[in-house]
Point group: C2
Chain length 229, copies 2
Amino acid sequence: MVTGYNSNDKVFLAVDCIIFGFDGENLEVLLIQRDFEPEKGKWSLMGGFLKNNETLDDAAARILHNLTGVHDIYMEQLYSFSEVDRDPVARTISTSYYAIINIEKHNEELIENYNAKWFPLSEVPELIFDHNIMLNKAIRRLRRRTSISPIGFELLPEKFTMRQLQNLYEAILDKELDKRNFINKINSMDVLIKLKEKDMTSSTKGSFLFKFDKDKYDEKQTNSFYLKL
Amino acid sequence: MVTGYNSNDKVFLAVDCIIFGFDGENLEVLLIQRDFEPEKGKWSLMGGFLKNNETLDDAAARILHNLTGVHDIYMEQLYSFSEVDRDPVARTISTSYYAIINIEKHNEELIENYNAKWFPLSEVPELIFDHNIMLNKAIRRLRRRTSISPIGFELLPEKFTMRQLQNLYEAILDKELDKRNFINKINSMDVLIKLKEKDMTSSTKGSFLFKFDKDKYDEKQTNSFYLKL
DNA sequence: CCAAAAGTGTTTCCCTTACACCCATGA
DNA sequence: TCATGGGTGTAAGGGAAACACTTTTGG
């Protein structure tokens, strides 16, 4: 006997993607304006339905790519939302994913752009369904993650200044950090390579550029090297 | 126009519950022996299908209660598993939940017991589907949580000795802790009340019993008071 | 009187934090 | 020459970890 598999219990399973980006100044999130019902015209996360032949991870990647042109992003599963009436059209459970990406690097993909637009976190509009709740949960998770393992590789241009990295951390954590302590902390992580080049755009003196040491960075990532700020 | 809602995409959404308990010595997990196909006779987590009129949280509580008699447990959502072939009968996504409970307190419920049985973590058999993977993920999460906020209220009898509490932490973290440092740490959390009674079963001298100060405990819980061991 | 577990403080070390001044250069 | 951001080190304080001996009492 096989129990429990009753077709009446089948549901729609959606996937919604929360994509964070960093423009050098603010932490932003990618949203799209819906051009279909329900809630046509309102802003929302990138969402779609799980297909029968793909995993949730696959679906998240496909949906993000279809709606924004962005591809090759590692997204992490966040949470599954299941309020009975969260979607007014049909019973739909949604599993949310989030990722942080380098805005510049993906700008080209976004240019011919599908209705997608970056919003600073402080200017996010009211979103459809429970998407604001999803976004808030993603922000909290991102902050926690930032305190636990290094971040930035995905968010900064290949070469960046120490100030840019600090701006990133300050934007994510939403607090100011001491310049010297920050540098000491970052150096102690041993994931940066100091270049001989300087960026001359930000000051008369110019500031040295850095890049991530990808091998070391990945190692620290997976080992959840502890960074508290 | 309403796009995307195509009935072919509907899937079964299961919920699986990982219940940890502590017997004073070892960390254990509650499993049931399936009395139905597929995989009849094999051990598994407590699982069932999401119904149309309930949230995932509701479903987890209902399933746990139906299969084990245990009720009034706060479970936390862990992760949604979606490998295409994870369930050989039909495409099924499973959202897992986990909780830690006091074995003694729920023993009565378990006595007339449905096929449920406690297994020490080191003696967990091969489980159906991807349930071993779920369990491992839950253990990792439990360990991390234990390092971040106090734990024990749900797992120990109302009155307990300091040694029992230390045993609990050692079982969860799977490492030995220094007795004096442990006591200092716990005292600094200020969540215990020392009783005048002694437990005389464990030694000739006897050891003082403690209980949790529920108000303070809950406060620390929600504030994610930091405890590193 | 002895075995077995309970109980108890101090020191060291490292990480975190706070903090201020000089440097280089283009305008 | 001056305004602007870049770059640099140290001292104090607090939490974590290491560590050993005395107490109690039933058998």
